[in-house]
Symmetry: C2
Subunit: 431 residues, 2 copies
């Protein structure tokens, strides 16, 4: 390995930043032998110098200001691990590109909000902005789609993109406990943040989905076009009904490109037990891509954590070391398409609907008449027990129907006197 080392500056020394440095310490010699150049961390930027991160930082140049490091440090690559769509993370990436340095980032928010713009800047200067770690952690799904499926037209990409939600839903199923209790436990175990809303409200998954759609379809990143629902309204009753119906509930991100346009959505889904992702449990992530020649490709692995994220960051660095320079999002950023946005109202499929109703004569006649009026056809109906005059849950499963009509029916149903709270709706996805 007589080749010159690839010099790296790391912005952000949280668990992932420290993980990247640990990985290079542990496997650096092997990585250099793998036909590339040695990787050398030459600079770091973080606020606290004294904190023990379990890595040797005695020989690196230290910066307090990450964007100054990006501009000034003598290096080939800036690794941005600060996070956030704006502020210092954005400034650091812009400064690095401006200074002619490649960028590797795990920052899904930044890519989801500014991916197309940053890709144009990088490509105009012949630089790489690589982001394998931003989507599904250790799973090399960006590479698999962009290079491994390079011969395919991909029509759909979907997956379990948030480990916190998948952990909570798995625990709810196994323990029978309510969302709030399971969330509290997840927070204690470090699987959920103190403020869990980015995860449980689906925003983190939506960031990742917008990026995946861009690379799978060659379209401009359109985060604001993602319909987003989280998992807070999933009750333990829904988990129980799903089991009876042969489904599991998963928070999925789904992007589909058709002649009519692009639909991007993140919401809880019921998936049949026979589908591979039904069995992806706990904090694991999985991404499924469907190509016209390859058929269905499923990749599953750890979606977060220091080790898996560092693995993805270093894979990107090795690509740069080897001189591999793929397009950021499959096509040159200036040529990315901007297809029509399809709203969630255009979704066609079947629905699980749970109503809390007062058990009295005529309620179900009113409900079913309303569905009929909107052309929503019922596949099955389940009522749990009988309790005249009291609250009972009633579950309806529809045949395939368009969401708009189903929503109109539900608006009317909500207003029926015997219907006690807003209906709980989970879309059924039979992939």
């Amino acid at each position: 390995m007589s080749a010159a080392p690839l010099d790296i500056a790391v912005a952000g020394l949280g668990t992932v930043g420290a993980g990247v440095i640990k990985l290079i310490e542990a496997n650096g010699a092997l990585i250099a032998r793998r036909g590339g150049r040695p990787l050398r961390v030459v600079a770091v930027a973080a606020r606290e110098r004294k904190k023990d991160r379990g890595v040797d930082l005695s020989k690196v140049e230290w910066y307090d200001d990450a964007s100054r490091m990006a501009a000034e440090a003598k290096c080939d690559v800036v690794v941005e691990l600060i996070g956030g769509a704006d502020g210092i993370a954005h400034a650091t990436v812009e400064a690095a590109l401006k200074a002619g340095k490649h960028v590797v980032t795990a920052n899904k928010a930044l890519l989801a909000h500014r991916g197309t713009e940053l890709a144009r800047i990088a490509e105009d200067k012949g630089l790489t902005i690589a982001y394998e770690a931003a989507v599904a952690g250790g799973i090399p799904i960006i590479k698999a789609i962009r290079e491994g499926l390079a011969g395919n037209r991909v029509s759909r990409v979907y997956g379990i993109l948030n480990g916190t939600c998948n952990y909570i839903l798995t625990r709810m199923r196994k323990s029978g406990e309510a969302f709030a209790n399971v969330l509290a436990d997840a927070q204690k175990l470090g699987y959920a943040e103190a403020d869990p809303s980015f995860d449980v409200d689906g925003i983190d998954a939506a960031h990742k989905l917008a990026i995946l759609a861009g690379v799978a379809f060659g379209t401009r990143i359109d985060f604001s076009g993602v319909h987003v629902e989280g998992i807070r309204r999933i009750g333990s009753e829904d988990i129980q009904f799903a089991r009876e119906l042969g489904f599991r509930i998963k928070l999925l991100g789904i992007a589909e490109l058709t002649e009519a346009g692009l639909m991007q959505r993140v919401h809880p889904c019921m998936v049949p037990l026979e589908t591979p992702i039904a069995h992806v449990e706990d904090v694991y992530n999985a991404v499924v891509a469907e190509g016209d020649f390859v058929g269905r490709l499923v990749c599953e692995g750890r979606g977060a954590g220091a080790g898996p994220t560092a693995s993805a960051v270093v894979a990107d660095i090795v690509d740069i070391a080897h001189g591999r320079r793929p397009m950021t999002f499959q096509l040159p950023a200036a040529e990315l398409a901007a297809p029509t946005r399809l709203p969630i109202a255009a979704r066609k499929g079947s629905y699980y609907i749970r109503l809390d109703v007062v058990d009295r004569p005529g309620v179900m006649a009113d409900v079913t008449a309303t569905l009929r009026d909107e052309n929503v056809s019922l596949a099955s109906m389940l009522q749990r027990g009988r309790a005249p005059g009291e609250r009972v849950p009633v579950v309806l499963v529809t045949h395939e129907t368009e969401e708009a009509g189903m929503r109109r029916a539900l608006d009317r149903i909500s207003k029926l006197g015997a219907v006690l709270e807003e209906p709980h709706v989970v879309r059924i996805e039979r992939f």
Copy 2:
């Protein structure tokens, strides 16, 4: 896309060869836009010119002799889709490399037998020999391991590598039918060859495993070091017992590298229902790689067929078009390690053993005493019904033990008068 086209010669026009040409016809314009060069098929070699393959071959140069085409055709890449470890396939690949052309191949037998040698020839000349299609069809697992896990030390790689066997085992489980009947059906449906031995005896899976081990560990391809057993001895009773015990039976290829050496084996396994590959059904393949930083990565997809194989072949061609030149097997071929071969006798794990015994007093005492003498400890024992003086199946599940001792015990047990046929053994793998 003003770049010069990449000129391709295709050797072998079976379903896969025709599939590659169809893919380039269908998606060529998109592939060219994806930042690479246009792909242009300029020559083909096949025996029968008149056969209708559903593709336009009017403008390509036609050769009867693939190795002459490899030597003489004016092209950048020779795609070898003839198959077989020797003969014309090998001659074609050698001729292409000798003539300074890159090679893309789907030929697992050739790689398994001559991979290290061909990689050295290619690397010495600065050429690529790419083989994504040789392992697990459409799944981009070679790329995922070699590039996506470039930062990791991989310690184990395993998977469902033969779609025919997985289809047969899935059908046996779902229908309860015997191996021979299901095989006959699979042959009728085109999922198994007229001579099925390459598939059902595990040889095809062993070819793929040897290649996977090389790329995952950076070791010389050692096909003759693979312990191989097929699925012919799996009875419908074993499938039934597996279900009762919470397992599924899968033909797996497993390669593990430890301080002690390299163990490579292909054989039927019982895997717990909770393991992702337990749910990989029908003709699907799946590969699992375990890296020190990434943890467990699982990729599942179609392992055979014209479309998926063409997808993998074209991905390799696109890499060449983009000037991406990875090492053939992770490290330069001249530096690949040759670790000690660990024999199957060194395998440690638990075992499912089915004995057909005459139901009479003292039989089980003899069996269990023999196991005790070889230090094989029993976890459980199942006997199906009672039939004094007649044949009954008895199932033993052992605790973790070394295979050598278990084999010695079984040799002695086979010789007991009441044991009617050679014991049926399936290794239990709790990944």
